[in-house]
Structures are given as structure tokens and as C-alpha cells.
Symmetry: none
Subunit: 208 residues, 4 copies
Amino acid sequence: MKIDKDIKRNNYEGVSLPKTRRGQATFDRLLKAAEDIIGDKGYHDTSIYSITEQAGVAMGTFYLYFRGKKDIFRELIYHIHHDVRKYIQIAIKDIPDRKEAEIEGIKAFFHYCLEHPNLYALIREAEFVDIEIFKWYYTNFSKGYAEHLEDAMEKKQIKQMDPEALAFCLMGISIFTGMRWTLWEQKLPDEKQLETIREFILKGLAPG
Amino acid sequence: MKIDKDIKRNNYEGVSLPKTRRGQATFDRLLKAAEDIIGDKGYHDTSIYSITEQAGVAMGTFYLYFRGKKDIFRELIYHIHHDVRKYIQIAIKDIPDRKEAEIEGIKAFFHYCLEHPNLYALIREAEFVDIEIFKWYYTNFSKGYAEHLEDAMEKKQIKQMDPEALAFCLMGISIFTGMRWTLWEQKLPDEKQLETIREFILKGLAPG
Amino acid sequence: MKIDKDIKRNNYEGVSLPKTRRGQATFDRLLKAAEDIIGDKGYHDTSIYSITEQAGVAMGTFYLYFRGKKDIFRELIYHIHHDVRKYIQIAIKDIPDRKEAEIEGIKAFFHYCLEHPNLYALIREAEFVDIEIFKWYYTNFSKGYAEHLEDAMEKKQIKQMDPEALAFCLMGISIFTGMRWTLWEQKLPDEKQLETIREFILKGLAPG
Amino acid sequence: MKIDKDIKRNNYEGVSLPKTRRGQATFDRLLKAAEDIIGDKGYHDTSIYSITEQAGVAMGTFYLYFRGKKDIFRELIYHIHHDVRKYIQIAIKDIPDRKEAEIEGIKAFFHYCLEHPNLYALIREAEFVDIEIFKWYYTNFSKGYAEHLEDAMEKKQIKQMDPEALAFCLMGISIFTGMRWTLWEQKLPDEKQLETIREFILKGLAPG
DNA sequence: CATGAATGAGGCTTCATTCAT
DNA sequence: GATGAATGAAGCCTCATTCAT
């Protein structure tokens, strides 16, 4: 898995970055409050007032930095995107074998989901808040994924297949399984289940 | 894949079934209108008024049959659940080989998604509207799936593995891939992509 | 205290009396239901639907007998009026001394209030539902009261004073005290308190 | 009669006090409008919209200061409570004789009722809007009253009796009589009637 | 006599956003 | 940069009453 060097961030589209240190602190508090509350109650049940209250600022302040409610949500998605990628990258950076890296990447993803129970849910919720950011997220993510798979195909570590379709298969497994164990039980799949997932993927990818 | 013979329907929780023919017609019109509009604009952007308007009844009539917006949404999910299962069941009922049936079931699911572009999205949206119905849906669905897989394992058609984990892997692939091609391009994965999915799954399931 | 021989009841003003035995039963059930529910929750928090439901009839049936919500309320007031008077009359009918009869009448009234905790409250509520019926009730009641007092004045049993003002003083004491012990503690004033009330009234009324 | 020096006001239960001068002005206008309209049409026939309209603010503004209609009503009751007590206190502050003070207190109360025809009715209506505030009102009022009577009993100005029962007798007379002449005729009882009330009370209270 | 579906005005409440300070 | 009062449209829901059967 690969991390975008730079997530394109347009400073003037819905979000106005602060210019002073004090402003930066306010901005950060707003974002943190949004993460907490939207993460907890979802986008639609979160009012901007509750965000500013939690952040300890006045209502008007919100609009100094964000054009509206959707914009802070989008900002949140960018942050999660960045976080997840970094988290996974760190987990797999020393694994030379590609197939093994895939498996470990998925496990890392599970861990992320469990550590931030409602954060990753926001990615899924994005489909119903701002479809464009949702598509951006998965397009972006899958591209990185697909490149990796192509690499591995060239090196004959995995079978030659359509990289995008394959990427979505693997993402589907991770995301859906991750959701299942996060929402239902808030724990990892047990050993036997992990082994099943691992085996299914490894055999599915195996060359020949 | 297996279809519940009967979806348990609790008549007295949030939904009041009509007692006369006239009432039944009204009820049906409301449900159809909800399907159209919620399907089109999503749960949160749909007002109850717009549903009644489309159904050609007065606002108050809505509340004769549903306690609130969530209740008609839940009713909709029950219907979709039933529809999807029936659709898939019909598609695979004559396929004797289990692995082949899985593949065809997934293809049928893709077709369903494409034919009802925004209906299946409601299932995903349910996570953010009524988490219980969302969990009910996938718990229910996965049970049927897992039973089938167990069958196939006993018959050595597929490898012995954890059936639930495997069911969620396969569902993850279908649902995520289904979403991808529905949302991005409104068409099926192309031949090469379908072949990739097929091969990945078949190899992943293969015994030995 | 005296009871109107006949409470004027206009059969065609808001209330349509039933003509058949079956109708009479329905009418009675409606009235009983209204007494229960309005007594319990007050006029404004009672819906006609809840009355018909409790009475076991359909909504439309209500309008066969009552023009609207106010009309059944008014009917209730008539009934309570009649009840209260009868109750008191029975309690004092064998007491020859007028002053003693007043005291016993008040005690009987307290008992009525305690036995029908929320029925007498409806009389007070009438001020805010239908001021005319409210005024009717107390005008009527006070007239009977005043006549009695005049009688007693002629017989020199009590001092010569303005009968109406006196009637309202005595009613004020009964009603306000009755309300106090009903609402706060749901029991009678204790011995010492009763004795205070008794003494205060007797001395106040005493001739000379 | 005695006036609370300070009416306990809980700032954080249903009422949010404004923080700026501008806010205070708005708050006051809302309260004044509520007094006018609820006083005029009663609690149940007053819509929040009509209050805001009269106050010249938008609907939403109401909810900046009051959680709901009940809360502004309660606020009103506090104000009336305060007003009435002050009004009576002023009227009797220079009267040394206790029995005479009682009589004058009641007359002052009559005047208050006539000057604010529908304000005191709100106190009675409170029984059907918010029973707790209603009980608070009379509990509070009667306590002051009873203390006064105890004083007078110690000084042998009036007979030794149960102070609470006596207080409710006197309050019953004032309130019921006050209501009678306010509602029926909007004038004071005439000379003869006043004299009757006066005599009845004075004799009733007389020591010995 | 009785039913119960349908009406629709009316009221309540929330909340994203603006704006004067 | 920050405040917080004010807005008002938008949506929810109730319920007295009517009417076709």
C-alpha cells in the first residue's frame, strides 16, 4: 500500500486555513470536536452548535474556517484518509513479500477500525453526505492498491489479473469484514476466522 | 444462497396494517412513493410531506400507518431484503455446482444493483438511519449464506473453513464491487474484470 | 343546601340523546370513558380518539352523540354538578340545625373530593374550557346556598348579612380547602384542622 | 401578609437568561408579549408564534430563552407571584392591627384582581398547565400567611387555631370571592357585601 | 347505528447560516 | 479573531372533524 505524498488540499474551497497561531488552535479544536461528535452521533444528528459548544467557541467562529457543515465533514474525511494510509503503511513497511504484506495490511486495517470505532464509519457515511468525496476516497485508495498489485503481478508474486477488479475484491473483503467485527462485537475476528480470511485471499491471489 | 421462507414481520411496532381494502391501497401507495423518493434522494433529504404528496394523500394519512419516517424506511428494507433474495434465488436455482452457484449468485446480485440503482444503496444507508435494521439485514443474509457454504464444505466442494468469515468475505466482494460499478459507471464490470473476480473466488474456495 | 329539581338539559344543543337501548349503552360508555380520561389527563391532553378507543367504539360514533369535544365536557360538568349536590344533600338531610348542617355539608364535600380525586378538578378546569358552563355551575350552586342562608337568617340562626357574599365565603373555604387537601395529600384535613375550620365558620356565622 | 425577600429563581431550568443588553431587551419583550396574550386568551389558545409575533422577533428567538411554552408560563407565574405580594405588602404595611391588616390585605387583593383582570386567572389556570408550579405558588403564599397568623395568635389578637387551616380558609375566601367579582361583573363587591365579608372574617378570627 | 379512513390546518421545534458588535 | 443574538424556512406531528360505506 502506498500513501499519496500530498493529498491535494485546496485551501480556498470550503475551508479557510487559519493564519495565526491562535486561529490554528481554534481550527484544531473545531476539527477535533467535529471528529468526536460526528463520529459519535453521525453527520445528520450533529448540529454545528454542538460542535462549537464542544470546541468552546461561539457559533460564528465556525464560519470563519468552514463554509458549511459539509465542508468540515469533508475535511474530516481527508484526515481519516491520511491516517488510515499512514497506519497501514507503518504496519507493512518491512514486509518484503507482497502477498504477506496484503494480509498484514488487512490486519492493520482491522486494528485501525477497532481503535477508532466510529471514525471509519464516517467513510461509509460519506456516501450519503457527499458522494463526490466518497468516490474520491475509494478511487484514490484503490489506485494505490492497484499499483501495488500490478507490481506484484510483474514480479509473478501473484497471478496476472485485472488490477482494479482485484483491488476492489480485496478492499471489499477488508472493509466489509472490518465493519462486521467492529459493529457487531467490537473485537477482532478470532484466530480461526482470521485464518480463513488469510487462506481465502492467499489462494485467490496465488499465481498459476 | 437461500431465501427465508418467511420474513418475520411484526405488525405492531411502528407500522399499523390497514384493515380495509381502501386502506391497503393507500398503504401500498405510500410505500411505493417512499421507495421512489427515498431511493432517489436518500433518507435525510426526503420529507414525509413529499412522500404523501407523491402518494396523493394528506400528511396525516401517513401517520395512520407509520409512526414516523424511520418506520417506513424499515418497512422498505424488509421489502428490499425479500426482493434481493428472491431475485438471486431465481437466478441460481438450477445450478447444481455450488462454486458455480456462488459466482452466478454474485452476478445476479450485480444485475439487481444495476436494475434498481438506488434501492440497494438504501441497505447501506440503513447503517446511518437504523443500525438495528442494518445489522438484522446482514445477520440474516449471512446466515443463509453460511449455511450454504457449510453444505458445500461437507460435500467437499469447497475447502473446510470458518463459514461465517467466508460468507462475509464473499459478501464483501459482491457488495463492494457491486457498489463500485453501480455508483461510478452504472454498468457491469467488463469481461476481464468479471473473469478476475470469478477466478479469485474460485481459487480462494477451492478445496485442498 | 338544596338541589335543583331539574337541571335544564337541552337535548339538542351539542348533545343528541340516543333513541335506542343500544344507543344508550354507547352513549353511556362514551361518557364514562370521557370521565375517566379527562379526569385523569385533563381536557386539553385528552383526544377524542382516546375516548372512543376506551369506549370501544369508532371515531365517527362520537359525533353521533356530541357535536364536539366541548360538548361532552359540558355534559360531564352537568353530571358532576348533579352528583355533588346529591351527595351533600344525602349527608345533611337529617340535620335540623342550620349551622351544623353547613359544617356537615362541607365535610361531605371534602369526602366527595377525596373519593373522586380528579372529578371535582374538572369543575375548576371548566373556567379555562368553557367559561359559561363554569359560571353556570357556581351561579346555580351559590343560589341554592344563598337561599338556605336566608332561611337561617330569618330564623335568627345566623346573623343577618348579605346572603350571596356569605355563600361565596363559605364556598371559597370549602372549595379551596378541599382542593388543598386533595391535591397535596389526598387525605382529609386532620382533626385539629377540621376543628379550626369548624370554629372559624361557626363564629363567623354566629348571630349577634 | 409577608413578601419573600427573594423569589428563588433557577436560571438553568427551562429558561436561559440572556447575556447581553440586547438579549435582555428581547427576553423582556417576549415575557411582556406572553403576559398580554396568555393573559388574554389563556395558555392553551396561545401559540408560541403569536407571542413572538407580538414581541416582534422570529420564532426561533423564543427558543433561545425558553425551552417551551410551559417555561415561559412558569416564568410568568413567578412574576405574578412577586407582583401580588408586593402589591398587598404596600397596601398593609402601615396597619398595626393584625385583624384589620387581614381585611385590608384582602381588599388590596381584590383591587389587584380588578386591575389585572386576567393575570390572576393564570394562577388558577396553572393547576391545569403545571401542577408543580401551582402547588409551589400556594404553598409559598400560605406559608407567609400562616406565619403572620401565628404571630397574631401569640399576641392574642386572634384566637389560637391551626395556622395552616386558617390561612387556607382566608385564602379561600379571598381567592374565590375575588374570582367571583372579577369574572362575573368586573367590579368590587358592593359596600354591603364587603361588610359581610369583613364581619364574617373578624368574628371568625376573634379571640375567646 | 356504526365504522374507520382521510383530511389539513395548526402548532411545535430545530438548526444552518447571517450579521452587528 | 471572536462573539452570540437573531433569523426563518423547513420539517415533524397531532387531532378535531368529515364522509363514504
